[in-house]
């Protein structure tokens, strides 16, 4: 559509708008559909963005770190820990390595065993946190050296569980995007049905307009403009309601979990405002398609 035609469409033609009688049923249905679909789209968008953030966070946190777990008799624990740290100190690609102290290990286990864990009385393995530099290290070579120097040390480079996490986050993101697309398609289908109903109900109006020389484009424009504006208004209400709903979710800082982080951050709060214009576009094309098809049928 040319810019001029679009401007004319947005400005409207008061007289042309009047030729279609006000139809409460389809008006309400279109606005309600647009509002509810946008409400759902806001949540799908929040899910998609949160999944994206999660994937990034997990990727960053896991990609450059590894853990060495040392299981050894109490008498050998310190010696094997020192041996592991010595090996790591001369391993290319390792930026730093440090053994976690008892307090840190207790904090790690606290969510499962409670705060009063008798660490000394339990055969808890010692954990060594490894951070790699940009070049990375040779994991297989490191494993072989560790086996020779500290037989109780096992390298866990997080690959085993990093991959499924990254895949899961990616799928969650895709799920969100797919949901938005399906919501858009559903909205188009429902608005098409509502437009078809409105056109069928106004067959007499169309007959009269044709009798006096109205072109299909003129008749279609009156319907399309009405449905587009209804979808825009309904969608704006749905977007605001959805954003309020997202804002009322518990803060990620308070609970720290994924579900509680299901919100918008920073400029992300502006993204839901893109949904009403998109909904209006969907309504525009859906109604235009329905109108021209119906007008051909009503020859």
């Amino acid at each position: 559509m040319k810019i001029l035609a679009l401007t004319q469409f947005l400005r409207g033609d008061k007289q042309a708008d009047r030729v279609v009688p006000p139809s409460g049923h389809t008006a309400w249905l279109t606005s309600f559909t647009a509002a509810t679909m946008t409400f759902l789209a806001v949540f799908a968008l929040a899910l998609s963005l949160a999944a994206g953030r999660l994937a990034e966070r997990w990727g960053d946190a896991l990609a450059r770190s590894a853990t060495i777990r040392i299981s050894a008799p109490a008498g050998q624990m310190d010696a094997q820990t020192r041996a592991v740290l010595d090996v790591l100190a001369i391993t290319p690609g390792v930026e730093r390595a440090r053994a976690m102290d008892d307090a840190e290990q207790r904090a790690l286990l606290e969510p499962w065993f409670g705060p009063n864990l008798p660490l000394d009385a339990l055969p808890i393995p010692r954990l060594v946190e490894v951070t790699e530099d940009d070049t990375g290290y040779d994991a297989e070579g490191l494993r072989q050296r560790l086996a020779a120097e500290a037989p109780g040390a096992v390298l866990d480079d997080h690959t085993r569980w990093r991959k499924p996490l990254a895949v899961a986050a990616g799928r969650l993101r895709m799920l969100g995007i797919t949901s938005i697309l399906l919501i858009g398609a559903s909205m188009a289908a429902m608005i098409t049905l509502a437009a078809n109903a409105a056109l069928a109900a106004n067959a007499q109006v169309i007959r009269v307009l044709r009798l006096v020389g109205a072109r299909d484009a003129y008749i279609a424009r009156a319907f399309v403009r009405r449905f587009t504006l209804r979808a825009l208004a309904g969608s704006a209400i749905g977007a605001v309601a959805g954003m309020i709903g997202v804002a009322l979710l518990p803060s990620a800082d308070v609970a720290g979990g994924f579900l509680t982080g299901l919100g918008f951050q920073g400029a992300g709060w502006l993204l839901p405002f893109l949904i009403p214009p998109a909904a209006a576009l969907v309504a525009f094309f859906a109604t235009r398609f329905a109108a021209f098809r119906k007008l051909k049928e009503l020859t």
């Binding site: 009798l211 006096v212 020389g213 072109r215 003129y218």
Partner: protein
């Protein structure tokens, strides 16, 4: 202006019109008569391409109707004022807006200047703001005539335009159509009203076409 060449029209397996050939020249005035169900309304609908012939050829303003696309048909209809027998209106719009509808859809505003004169002429000025369902049959008929002529079309096709009117109002409408004809417009009126035909023939050289046995014949001398 409008020409039929061996036109036939069939509906539901039966042939309603057969071998119809006629020519409405610019500035001519014709009446179309015939018994009920003879096909007068069908012939008028063929004249403004609401129906297409099942055989033969119809030419509107030098264009064969079958070659016209939908937009072209719409543009042709702007040059033809039609008075339907059942006087269809947009029931949610006031009478005045309904009368100016042809101007609205063609994006012209000049018709508004003639609106008041026209409504006065057809005696509907006091009802300008009334909705069509509030009008009587005769008022609707007068409104339909006003709508058909407001754009000063090249052709006026009227299907029983005086069927619900008293004689005085019938003559007023006839005078309006005669005046348009004197301005060079082509007029075709389907009617049963022989008095109306006689009254017209006193003012203009009107010709009478008669539909009988699915064919159109020239009548007139005996009226």
């Amino acid at each position: 202006m409008i020409a039929f060449e061996n036109v036939a029209y069939s509906y539901g397996g039966g042939e309603l019109l057969s071998e119809v050939s006629l020519r409405l020249a610019p500035g001519s005035f014709h009446f179309l008569t015939g018994p009920s169900g003879a096909g007068k309304s069908t012939l008028l609908k063929l004249c403004y391409a609401e129906l297409l012939p099942t055989a033969g050829r119809i030419t509107l303003f030098d264009r064969e109707v079958r070659s016209l696309d939908r937009d072209e048909v719409a543009r042709m209809r702007r040059r033809i004022g039609v008075v339907h027998q059942d006087c269809q209106f947009l029931d949610h719009l006031p009478l005045a807006t309904n009368v100016t509808l042809p101007a609205m859809v063609s994006g012209r505003s000049s018709a508004n200047e003639d609106l008041q004169d026209l409504l006065n002429w057809v005696g509907l000025a006091p009802l300008a703001d009334a909705l069509p369902p509030q009008l009587s049959g005769g008022e609707r008929q007068r409104a339909a005539v006003a709508r058909a002529v407001i754009m000063s079309p090249d052709v006026v096709l009227a299907d029983e335009p005086t069927g619900n009117l008293d004689w005085e109002m019938s003559l007023r409408l006839l005078t309006l159509l005669v005046e348009l004809n004197k301005m060079g417009k082509t007029i075709l009126i389907a009617t049963h009203d022989l008095n109306l035909i006689r009254a017209a023939k006193q003012q203009v050289p009107a010709r009478v076409l008669r539909i009988a046995k699915r064919r159109v014949q020239l009548a007139g001398a005996d009226l």
